[in-house]
């Protein structure tokens, strides 16, 4: 486990139960913990089903990062939910998007639910970057020629 300050541990202890509630509410009943863990893993988060369970029960030992909160909400189509907003506030995080903006993100995610799973994942990975407020970086060398058959 990475070294953490006592203050950080104490703060996380104080909020993790409420964060857990929020995480559980975002997942809802229609999405299983296993499904969420799988989707988050595909997005690039190293989260297992047991970790999903522990976080939801407020037993996660490591503070939930901004990226994981947003990734969790992204997989649950719950970016515009009050739960994410509340969790971000608890964690002291903020995103450069309004509630109305987040609704459009959710709408877009739902709209493309019919896409194949790999295609959805590509879209979601990129949306995550946009959500976190990081501009897409141009590639240094155009790889056009490398793909010729």
């Amino acid at each position: 486990m990475p070294e953490r300050d006592e203050v950080q541990i104490a703060r996380w202890d104080a909020i993790r139960s409420r964060v857990g509630d929020g995480l559980r509410q975002m997942r809802g009943r229609e999405r299983s913990q296993a499904q969420l863990a799988y989707e988050m893993d595909e997005l690039g988060f190293h989260i297992s089903q047991s970790m999903v369970s522990r976080y939801e029960q407020g037993q996660g030992e490591v503070p939930l990062s901004l990226e994981r909160m947003v990734g969790w909400a992204l997989c649950c189509d719950a970016l515009s939910s009050g739960h994410l907003h509340e969790m971000l506030e608890l964690g002291g995080y903020s995103l450069p998007w309004t509630t109305g903006d987040m609704k459009q993100f959710d709408l877009l995610l739902r709209k493309f639910r019919a896409m194949s799973s790999p295609d959805q994942m590509v879209l979601r990975r990129r949306m995550l970057w946009h959500l976190l407020g990081v501009s897409p970086e141009p590639l240094a060398t155009p790889p056009v020629m490398e793909h010729t058959r």
Binding site: Q104, L108, F112, D119, M121, V122, R126, M127, V134, P142
Partner: protein, 211 residues
Amino acid sequence: MTGDTMTLLPLDDTRRQLRERLRRLPSEQDHVVGVKRLRSILQEMGVVCDDSAELQDADAILLTSGRGMEALIASRLDDEERHRAYSRIVARLIIGQMHEPIDAKIEYPAEHLTISREEKEEDAAVAQFAIALVEGNLDLAPRPLYEDVPKLTLAWTPRTAARSTLGGMHLWSDYWYRHSTMYRWWRSRPKVSKTIKRVCAVLNPRRPAAV
């Protein structure tokens, strides 16, 4: 995304610059060169292009937000397919409506199930314009898509009447190209294209080609 309250992404400047570049784009038979040219144009417009997307069904995705624009092109495509995918992205930027704060357009290799009639019409117009782009034959599409054309004005004087009539025709052509399958088919016939060129030359003899 079809909500009434959604704001359209202001793409006028990008479109104007794209049209400018497309007019000068030489007709290209080599798909590798064609891809390079379209890719350069997109990058000039600030679109980040990634040719290594692990897309299974879709050929490409155009993603726009306040953070920037991205074109994700499937890595599985061969040169010709990639050329078509890039053409569709360019065509999408010219014809399509993108919404704020985030929007995505998915480019499929063939006709695909879409939610609304508007999206279906947009997809069809984009596909047809992309064909003209790949073939390097922009004449097969309405001129307002790639040129500045005379405007339809109400100031009807003998001097401006011809140009205004031409503007009205362009407006009509652009509208039906976006909404009618039959018109798109008809407009992409070489004979029709030649006839339209002649009409343009008659109504606007000073600039028959570029109108």
